[in-house]
Structure formats: C-alpha cells, structure tokens
C-alpha cells in the first residue's frame, strides 16, 4: 500500500466534504515528506512507512469532527445494516413467509396448467398466498432498521389485516369475473364490500402515518434540503425556477405531440433535447453567482 491508500483506508466510511479533503491533502503532504526524510536516514520504504504511521497516532477523533459522522450512502446503510437489528426468530419468520408465498405461486401456476381454470389458480393463490403476504407486511413494518424505528405492532396489524381484506377482495373479484354467471357485472359489485373499504382504510392509514425515521436520518435530510436551498438567492427565486421548469416541460410535451403530428416521430424527440438544454440554461441562470 502506498501512502494515499493508507490515508484512504483511515478515512473509509467518512463522507468527503471540503474540510475533510483539505485535511487529507495536508496529512498526505506531511506524511510523504516524513517518509522521505526517514528514508534519507537509512530506513527502507516499509520501515519508514510503518514508523511514520505509528507516530501519526489515532486520527479518528479529527475525522469524526470533520465529517460529523456524515456517512456516504444513507440508504445503503439503512438497508444493509438491517441484519444487525434482526433476531434469528424474525429471520426464520421472514424465510418461512417467503417460502409459503413461493409455494402459493407455484401451486397456482400448476393448478392453472393442469385444470386450465383460472378461477382455481386464483383460489389457491388466495388460500396459500394471502396469509404469508400479510405476514411479510407485518414483519417488515415492525422491523427496526438502522434508519427507521419499528412501527407499533397494533398499527402494523391493522395494515396487514387491511391488506388481507384487499387481497381477498381482489381474488374474489377475479374468481367472480372468470367463473360467475354474470361475468364483469357481478365482479364489479363484489368490489364494494371488500376492495373499496379496504382501499379507503389503507389510504387513511398511509395518510395518518408518522415519520419513523431515526434522528440522524431526519438531520441528514434537513441538511440536504438546506444545501439545495442555498443554491438559490431567495425563496421566491426558487419558486420562480420551479414554475419555469414546470412550464418548460409542459411545453416540451406539447412540442413532442405537435412535432409527431406535423413531421413524424423521427423528429419529435428533438423537443426533449431542446427541453434538456433549456433546463440547463435555466439552472445556470438561477443558481447563486
């Protein structure tokens, strides 16, 4: 490893911001010079490197301070670290639900292939598929991750019960449509007792949802928003930019349709290219000098 690789390793996992880059450059220059001077005193490359790094000591305190523990990929960590929060019992339940769901899919495909009856396939999917699907919904909602707190089990239970009714209604709809005497008319009527209320209740649940993000995710999101706001002189400038961008893309869509009708599809894509160019010009005109 050369000195830069050593420094890279020391700072692995820390976000690269301006002050961090600055510090890395300073560190790299000083270490390089130190190693040179050690080599001039008769040490070989490896020994000089080892001595220099040994005398450097622990720089993590400085790195922590500089990066404020900003991590590179929020979402990567959010999902990759989920394992740390999962007990083996939960892992087992996840796998079990997944397996039953897989079995349901296979069973319904086989059922359809042998009986040629789509209603039978929908039936077996309903019987074997809905319970594990609801189980998966419940498990993932009550799962704490690195970035999110777990949902309360009562609320998660409401979600999965709602999903059960919705899926049951959908299956009944298909079975009525495919097997019933009146076809579509009955099937649509079947939507009223199951699908409609469960969709409404689902919408209610989603709309009354609170943010379960952990404080560090909220802080990061706020920071990203502030960085974005900093690009503009003022709020009204930003609003103007958004309106103009919106208008631009509506015009681009209209231009696309118009060009397709007048000159044909061969030329209409040009309106998209023109819109991209105009958008770039808009950005450069509006961003703070």
């Amino acid at each position: 490893m050369n000195i830069e690789e050593h420094i890279d390793a020391m700072f692995a996992g820390y976000a690269d911001n301006a002050s961090m880059k600055d510090f890395r450059e300073e560190l790299c220059a000083n270490l390089t010079e130190k190693i040179e001077s050690l080599k001039n005193r008769g040490l070989d490359e490896d020994a000089a490197m080892k001595k220099a790094l040994g005398e450097l000591g622990d720089i993590s305190v400085i790195a922590d301070e500089l990066s404020q523990k900003k991590r590179r990929e929020v979402f990567e960590i959010m999902y990759m670290n989920t394992r740390n929060y999962m007990s083996s019992r939960r892992v087992l339940l996840f796998v079990l639900c997944g397996a039953v769901l897989g079995f349901a899919v296979i069973a319904s495909v086989l059922g359809w292939m042998y009986s040629k009856e789509a209603g039978a396939a929908a039936g077996s999917l309903m019987v074997f598929g809905i319970p594990p699907a609801c189980g998966l919904i419940f498990l993932s909602l009550t799962q704490e991750t690195a970035g999110k707190e777990a949902m309360s089990w009562k609320r998660a239970l409401m979600y999965s019960a709602d999903a059960a009714v919705f899926l049951f209604g959908t299956a009944v709809f298909w079975m009525t449509y495919l097997n019933g005497p009146n076809g579509l008319a009955d099937a649509v009527a079947v939507l009223i007792p199951f699908v409609l209320p469960s969709a409404a209740f689902g919408a209610f649940l989603v709309l009354t949802e609170t943010d379960r993000s952990k404080p560090w995710v909220t802080a990061l999101r706020k920071e990203a928003l502030e960085r974005e706001n900093e690009l503009f002189e003022s709020l009204s400038q930003e609003r103007r930019f958004e309106l103009l961008s919106g208008a631009l893309w509506i015009a681009a869509a209209a231009g696309f349709v118009l060009l397709t009708m007048t000159l044909g599809i061969k030329f209409s894509w040009l309106s998209a290219v023109a819109a991209v160019v105009c958008q770039m010009l808009l950005v450069s005109a509006f961003i703070k000098k």
Binding site: D22, F23, E25, E26, L27, C28, A29, N30, T32, E33, K34, S37, E55, L56, G57, D58, I59, V61, I62, E65
Partner: protein, 112 residues
C-alpha cells in the same frame, strides 16, 4: 533510574508548544513536528494526531490561521501563522507555567 519525560504533563501544553514554534516564522505540519522533536532531543514520543487536533482547535479559536503554500515542486504544504491573539495566549500560558513551576518546585522541594 533515568529520568523520563512526563507525556501527560506535556500533552496539556501542546497548544502552547505549537504557538511557541510559530513565534518567529510560519511553519507547516512536518516542520512543526520536527522542531518540537529536535528541541526535546527526540525524547518525547509525540503523536502527530495530537498536533493536528491542536491546529484545528487553535485555528477555530482564532489563535492561528492557515494557508496553502505555493510549492512549485511536490505536494502543497499547509502553513500555519500565529495571530496577535495567539501571541497573547502564548505569553499568558508561559506566565502561568512559570508560576506553576515555581509553586511545584516549592512543593516538591526537600525543605518543606
């Protein structure tokens, strides 16, 4: 037994030591480290990380400023410059130390 340097005691004075090394000229990290090492006859196992922390702290509080040198060859060096406020801190810390040393000498003397 050979006397040895009390690292803990010295570490408490890192900021002042850094300021002292900058009194007469601006220096960069490796140079400051070397100056300190030479003055102690290489008896002090100073970790550079401690020094970097001191630079950051001193710069944040306005006792030193930093700037990049314009080296024509090799990597750029970051130089540190002591401010008026820094010189004042150095003078005060030195007085404090002289006073403390006197008291300690009295306390550790044999004729208590």
């Amino acid at each position: 037994m050979e006397p040895k340097l009390s690292s803990d005691l010295l570490r408490g004075h890192t900021d002042t030591v850094v300021l002292a090394s900058l009194l007469h000229q601006d220096r960069y990290g490796f140079e400051i480290y070397n100056t300190i090492l030479e003055r102690t006859g290489e008896q002090y196992e100073l970790k550079e990380a401690t020094l970097y922390s001191a630079y950051k702290r001193l710069e944040r509080d306005g006792f030193i400023t930093s700037y990049w040198g314009d080296e024509t060859r090799g990597a750029r060096r970051k130089y540190y410059h002591v401010t008026g406020k820094g010189r004042e801190l150095y003078r005060q810390n030195k007085l404090d130390w002289q006073f403390t040393r006197k008291i300690l000498n009295d306390l550790l003397g044999e004729d208590l």
